[in-house]
């Protein structure tokens, strides 16, 4: 119950911030449109890259939004106060996870809708499955964002986790160089990065896809458990 009340509270905060809502909804669709015009002459390239982006955008954006939101909770003193109330640490993390996942559903629906209907994206899997994978990717971003916010004391530091945590995963996920063509040690690193499976899931079908989605969801759960472990009631 407290977790759901927390979700409702976070969504209310979001609702009062109309500009953030607009940015969340419009930016991924605009970026996909940009890709469409960049690859106008090579539709297969657009299909490949836009599909991967449908996974990378929600992951990156939700990572950033969540880590900043959680950091604000820490710096404003509300976290310290919440931890003196009956709220459990898991209530807070679950509340954040659910709130931003719901935001990701709406964001993903807009981006997927634009990609398929306006930009003519053509993929082997249906739009519904792609949306599901995009939302699981967003949940991964939320979970890793919650974990990383524990290691940042200021907004400046939180933003720096993007190049540290997110960019290497984007570089090694198979977007720029197919994973089979990477050096062995790069492939090994790529194998342990969760975004690799998020991107893999989008390009595959059937059993492989569900395996990938399960791995991404599992990574999100592990990140949430670690985030709960780093949330301390007592601080120095």
């Amino acid at each position: 119950m407290i977790a759901l009340a927390t979700t409702a509270r976070i969504l209310r905060q979001l609702r009062h911030d109309r500009r953030t809502v607009a940015l969340l909804l419009v930016v991924p669709a605009l970026l996909l449109t940009l890709l469409y015009f960049m690859y106008q002459d090579t539709p297969p390239a657009f299909d490949r890259i836009a599909l991967i982006m449908l996974g990378i955008f929600p992951f990156t954006i939700m990572f950033l939004v969540t880590s900043i939101a959680m950091l604000r909770e820490r710096t404003s003193g509300t976290l310290e106060r919440l931890l003196t109330t009956p709220l459990r640490k898991t209530d807070l993390l679950f509340g954040y996870g659910l709130a931003f996942s719901l935001a990701a559903v709406v964001q993903g629906a807009v981006a997927t809708g634009v990609a398929y209907w306006l930009l003519g994206l053509d993929t082997s899997a249906g739009a519904g499955l792609i949306l599901l994978i995009a939302v699981v990717d967003a949940v991964l971003g939320v979970a890793i964002g919650l974990l990383c916010s524990a290691f940042a004391r200021t907004e400046f530091q939180a933003v720096q986790f993007l190049p540290v945590v997110v960019v290497p995963q984007i570089l090694l996920c198979g977007l720029f160089v197919p994973r089979e063509q990477m050096a062995g040690w790069l492939q090994a690193i790529s194998d342990v990065l969760p975004l690799t499976y998020a991107v893999d899931a989008l390009g595959s079908a059937g059993a492989t896809m569900w395996r990938d989605v399960t791995i991404v969801a599992g990574a999100a759960v592990v990140a949430l458990i670690l985030a709960a472990a780093t949330l301390r009631r007592r601080t120095p």
């Binding site: 927390t6 905060q13 009062h16 404003s76 509300t78 310290e80 007592r234």
Partner: protein
């Protein structure tokens, strides 16, 4: 109600509290007074159980401070108003009510109790500093805690509101609530039932305002505080 024994706290490499012992009796308003940087907030954080302590103990309602059982019975208002700036006063209060399993009625009552009924639809971020700290106070009143710990709740309030807030604190104490209120303003000391005077992490006075005045031989509490500090300095020198 609150029992602090030989409490030592270090923040970073600095020792902030040097072995404090005191007792806060139930159903009273106890003022924690001292200049800024004296360790008031650290002591308060130890009482609500969010401060890592080096040694000593803090017991609240017979339980170690910060125990899960105390989270329903202790209300805490931090020094900076810890409410969500991007929510309205009402939305803040209702969220905190839900943490105690209470409904909208309890939340709206607490908002009215701190005199923010007319501003309840406004975003906290748009309120004045004084209104913001009252919004923060409202969120702590909702659960009707047995112990209310307030860190400088009257900063930035106008004199009329300040008097009203102190009236409310005493009404709560009369109804059985225990209040620990910190302040760095000496003219508020006289409004407390008991005083804890703290300076540089040491407790230099623990008594009723009347007894502190009598012991120091002056009616002015500010002056009494000064004399206590000087007499302590002499003791150390001697």
């Amino acid at each position: 109600m609150i029992e602090v024994r030989d409490l030592v706290v270090e923040r970073g490499r600095r020792r902030v509290l040097h072995g404090i012992s005191c007792v806060v009796p139930a159903g009273s308003v106890t003022g924690l007074l001292g200049p800024s940087g004296s360790g008031k907030t650290t002591l308060i954080r130890a009482v609500v159980g969010v401060q890592i302590v080096k040694s000593g103990s803090v017991t609240v309602l017979g339980q170690p401070a910060g125990s899960a059982a105390l989270r329903r019975s202790v209300g805490y208002v931090t020094q900076a108003p810890s409410v969500y700036a991007d929510l309205s006063v009402r939305e803040n209060a209702r969220y905190f009510a839900s943490l105690y399993g209470l409904g909208a009625a309890a939340a709206d009552q607490a908002v009215a109790d701190v005199g923010l009924k007319d501003a309840s639809g406004q975003l906290v971020g748009n309120l004045s500093g004084g209104q913001r700290s009252r919004a923060s106070l409202a969120c702590a009143l909702i659960g009707q805690p047995q112990l209310l710990v307030l860190d400088e709740p009257t900063v930035g309030q106008d004199p009329v509101l300040r008097a009203e807030l102190w009236g409310r604190f005493h009404a709560l104490a009369a109804a059985g609530t225990t209040l620990l209120v910190s302040s760095h303003v000496m003219d508020e000391a006289g409004r407390c039932d008991r005083l804890l005077l703290i300076r540089d992490g040491l407790l230099i006075g623990d008594d009723t305002p009347a007894a502190i005045r009598a012991a120091a031989g002056t009616d002015d509490l500010e002056e009494a505080f000064l004399r206590l500090i000087r007499s302590q300095g002499q003791e150390v020198a001697a």
